[in-house]
């Protein structure tokens, strides 16, 4: 049986791959490709955030009876990333390669330390405490 850790971490990996492809195109000033792929990347990230915020995190919060704990921090970091997306979007519109690459460097570290905390602490915790709900959450993630 699949675990939350496996399924959600695989999603991170896909986002990382796309992130790297777009960054390379921005470096080469291929703005046409960047603009369409960035929109796709942002959608992928949003979808991932939404499933976590609407399905996984509430389930964890319900089990632990704690809404101000780790899930709150993860949501705050989602907000931080959304802000960076906004700025990246502007850089894409202005075809500003220096600004885009500076922001993508920032997003990378923000995103990766966020993913590490989820993959090493939060997801395993979800697998451990959610019991039978795990299958439901995974089904929703994959139906997305």
């Amino acid at each position: 049986m699949k675990t939350i850790t496996q399924v959600f971490s695989a999603d991170h990996l896909q986002c990382n791959q796309l992130f790297a492809e777009i960054e390379e195109k921005a470096y080469k000033n291929d703005w046409q490709a960047v603009s369409s792929e960035f929109a796709h990347f942002r959608d992928m990230m949003e979808r991932h955030f939404n499933i976590e915020e609407q399905t996984l995190f509430p389930a964890i919060e319900e089990r632990t009876g704690q809404t101000s704990g780790p899930t709150a921090v993860m949501k705050m970091e989602h907000q931080q990333m959304r802000q960076v997306f906004d700025n990246m979007h502007k850089a894409v519109e202005q075809q500003d390669n220096e600004e885009y690459l500076g922001l993508s460097e920032t997003l990378l570290i923000l995103m990766q330390q966020h993913n590490a905390k989820e993959e090493q602490i939060l997801y395993p915790m979800g697998d451990q405490i959610l019991g039978t709900d795990v299958a439901d959450i995974i089904a929703k993630q994959q139906a997305g």
């Binding site: 990382n16 791959q17 992130f19 790297a20 492809e21 960054e23 390379e24 470096y27 632990t64 704690q66 704990g69 780790p70 921090v73 993860m74 705050m76 970091e77 931080q80 802000q83 700025n87 220096e98 600004e99 690459l101 500076g102 922001l103 460097e105 920032t106 990378l108 570290i109 923000l110 990766q112 330390q113 590490a116 905390k117 090493q120 602490i121 939060l122 395993p124 915790m125 451990q128 405490i129």
Partner: protein, 447 residues
């Protein structure tokens, strides 16, 4: 599982890691000045380098003043964030640690230059307190850690190696005060053990553990294979333990075999990491990557030199009448510290410092969206970091040349001096960006 105390947002205040990061390059400057002052003497002092005071002073300016300094800062930053384990009273803790380590290092180095025993006593007391305190804090956090990872796992071993290094260091310093412990009948064995436990044990094991986390993160590479994350660090640690015992039992062949394990382990780590770098998805030029590549390539060169030096020290010294030319131990130290550890730490600083500046500003921003937070590459521009990197590489190459042509040491030390000044400038530029933006945010908040 107790989740009530689990919080993932535990970024310590700005000053906690930064006081260490900003002090480190200043010790690099001091080390370069000492090298410049001493010139070829440090390299040409072939008889008993571990007795030559300026060599010891130089080594400790780098190992305590630069390496341990940044590692204290990085651990105080990393443990709460990656391990969900909070450091008690972070600002007070870091202030005390920083003062003890800075003054302790200066006093220890001061002794080797002035030869005043009371200064040594002060230095050893301050350093012992710093390490005792740090080891206590790190152990406290590691015991309460939430979630296990290969990085945390490596930290246990690195911490144990640090304990051993500190005990050996204190014992060595007591030698200078005329207090000799029986098991350490040979001062050179003791120094060799202290050197190896510090650099191969504490520092390298920590670097390996951190690599498991950051190499895939920074460059989007595949993860380290499980056999590596499971066995590398414990194997190295056990090999070091066996090697240490064999130094005393004096079994040359077994000694060589256990040293080979250490060499193979470290080389394998370097090759595997270089391989993962090649497989990275993020192909853009990256200064942290360049520093890591330099460090790993030099590591590959320096381990065989260490092997020769370790065997040379144990075999030749004990065979009494041999002419002892410890060029290898000097070279292995130079390669290991200047070529492997220092580049990797500098590469890490170029990621950690801009990110933390950005993160702290972002956390202050709240709703004042009208003030733009500089992105990471605006905190320290790539151009400046790149120039500093190439200056460092040039200085290192000059240092290698000076092993054969001692007069080149002056150029090498000027190169290092320039490079450490440049690093200081880059880090203080980041601090300035932080202060200016932070000020703007505060002003807009009060408006």
């Amino acid at each position: 599982m107790n989740t009530a105390s689990l919080s993932l947002e535990q970024t310590p205040p700005f000053s906690v890691p930064f006081r260490f990061f900003f002090t480190a390059p200043l010790f690099g400057i001091l080390a370069s000045l000492l090298l410049l002052y001493d010139g070829p003497a440090i390299l040409s002092h072939h008889s008993y380098p571990s007795m030559y005071p300026n060599t010891i002073a130089l080594t400790h300016l780098l190992t305590l003043g630069f390496i341990t300094m940044t590692m204290f800062g990085a651990i105080l930053q990393l443990l709460p964030v990656l391990a969900g384990s909070l450091i008690p009273f972070p600002v007070l803790t870091s202030t005390i640690l920083h003062i003890l380590l800075t003054l302790g290092t200066l006093s220890l180095v001061g002794y080797f230059i002035s030869h005043q025993i009371p200064i040594l006593a002060v230095g050893i007391t301050l350093l012992s307190l710093a390490f005792l305190f740090f080891i206590g804090i790190m152990a406290y956090c590691l015991i309460r850690v939430k979630g296990q990872s290969p990085t945390i796992h490596a930290m246990y071993f690195a911490l144990a190696a640090l304990v051993i290094t500190v005990i050996l260091g204190i014992t060595a310093s007591l030698f200078f005060m005329g207090i000799r412990f029986l098991p350490f009948y040979n001062f050179y064995n003791l120094v060799g053990l202290h050197f190896t436990w510090g650099l191969v044990g504490w520092v390298s094991l920590l670097i390996i553990g951190v690599a498991y986390q950051v190499i895939p993160m920074f460059h989007i590479t595949p993860q380290y294979p499980p056999f590596a994350t499971r066995y590398f660090v414990p194997t190295l640690f056990i090999a070091l333990l066996i090697w240490t015992l064999l130094v005393y039992i004096y079994q040359p062949l077994l000694l060589l075999i256990s040293a080979m394990f250490i060499v193979i382990g470290l080389s394998f780590f370097a090759i595997l990491t270089l391989y993962l770098h090649r497989k990275r998805l993020r192909k853009l030029p990256d200064i942290t990557l360049k520093f890591w590549q330099m460090g790993l390539i030099v590591l590959l060169i320096s381990v065989p030199i260490w092997l020769v030096s370790s065997v040379e020290t144990w075999l030749i010294i004990d065979l009494a009448n041999f002419a002892y030319k410890p060029t290898y131990s000097i070279s292995s130290g130079l390669f290991f510290i200047m070529g492997f550890i220092l580049p990797i730490i500098q590469g890490m600083l170029y990621k950690i410092v801009p990110f933390l500046v950005w993160l702290h500003l972002q956390n202050q921003q709240l709703s004042q969206a009208n003030i733009k937070i500089p992105n990471m590459k605006q905190v320290i521009p790539d151009k400046l970091a790149k120039k500093q990197f190439w200056l460092y590489v040039a200085a290192f190459i000059l240092l290698i040349i000076s092993l054969w042509l001692p007069q080149f040491i002056y150029l090498a030390s000027l190169g290092f001096l320039g490079s450490f000044c440049f690093l200081t400038f880059n880090l203080f530029k980041a601090l300035q960006v932080y202060k200016i933006t932070s000020q703007k945010l505060r002003e807009s908040c009060t408006k």
